[in-house]
C-alpha cells in the first residue's frame, strides 16, 4: 500500500517536472527526475514541455505593457534568454 502511494507520488512529481533544470526545486523532485531521466516517456514529455515554453516566450507583449518593463528585460525576452512573469 505504502509502495503504491510512493509510486503515485513519484508519477505526480514527474508530471510537474520543471522545464528548466535550475528549477529542480527540492530533493524529492530531483530524485524523481533522476530515476526517470532515461525513460522514453519522460524524454518525450520534457521535449514537449520545452517546445511549448519556447512558443509561450514568443507570445507578443503589447507595447503599452512592454513599456512597464526595462528595455533590457524586453530585449532579453526577445532573445529567449530570460523568462518573464506577465499575466497574459
Amino acid at each position: 500500500m505504502r509502495m503504491l502511494r510512493l509510486l503515485r507520488r513519484q508519477r505526480a512529481l514527474l508530471n510537474c517536472a520543471p522545464i528548466s533544470q535550475d528549477r529542480l526545486a527540492d530533493r524529492t523532485m530531483r530524485a524523481a527526475v533522476s530515476r526517470a531521466d532515461d525513460s522514453d516517456e519522460f524524454v518525450n514529455q520534457q521535449s514537449f514541455d520545452r517546445a511549448v515554453a519556447a512558443l509561450v516566450r514568443l507570445i507578443p507583449i503589447p507595447p503599452e505593457t512592454a513599456e512597464w518593463f526595462s528595455e533590457r528585460e524586453v530585449d532579453l525576452e526577445k532573445d529567449g534568454t530570460e523568462p518573464r512573469r506577465p499575466c497574459d
Binding site: 510537474c16 526545486a25 514537449f48 517546445a51 512558443l55 509561450v56 499575466c87 497574459d88
Partner: protein, 143 residues
Amino acid sequence: MLGDSSKAQEVFHTTLREAANRAAQGELPKESFWLFRDARWRCLEATKTDLQPEALKLDEHDVTPQAAAQIEQLKPTQLAVWISGAPDPQRTALALFYLDEFDYNEILDLAELKLSELSRFLARGRRQLQAWLDAKHPEQGTV
C-alpha cells in the same frame, strides 16, 4: 490566461495600479506572489461574463517524439488561445507552468492546488494538446 491581449493589458494595468495604491498606504501584503495571485483572480473575473468553455470530453493522445516539431508549426497566439480555452483551474495550471518562471511548489501555492491536481491538469493538458496537434498536422503525428 485570457487569450486576448487587450483584456490582459487591462488586467495588468489594474493590478499594478492597485498595487501602487496599496504601497502608497503601506498595505502591501507580506506573502510572496500576492501580485500574481491578484492578477490571476482579476483574469478569472475578466472572463466571468465571457462564453465559458463547454465541459466537453476532448480527445487525448500520448505525447510523441514528434510533438516538438508539431509545436514549432504553431503560431504563439494559437497556443495562447488554446490555453485560454481550457477550463479553470487547468488553464491556470497550464499558464503558470509553461511560463517556466515558477517551480511546482510555487504553482501549487499560487493556484491553490494539490500536487495530485496539478499533476492531473498538466498530464491531461499535454495529452489534449497532442491530440489537437495530431488533428492539425496529421502528417507529422505518425512519422
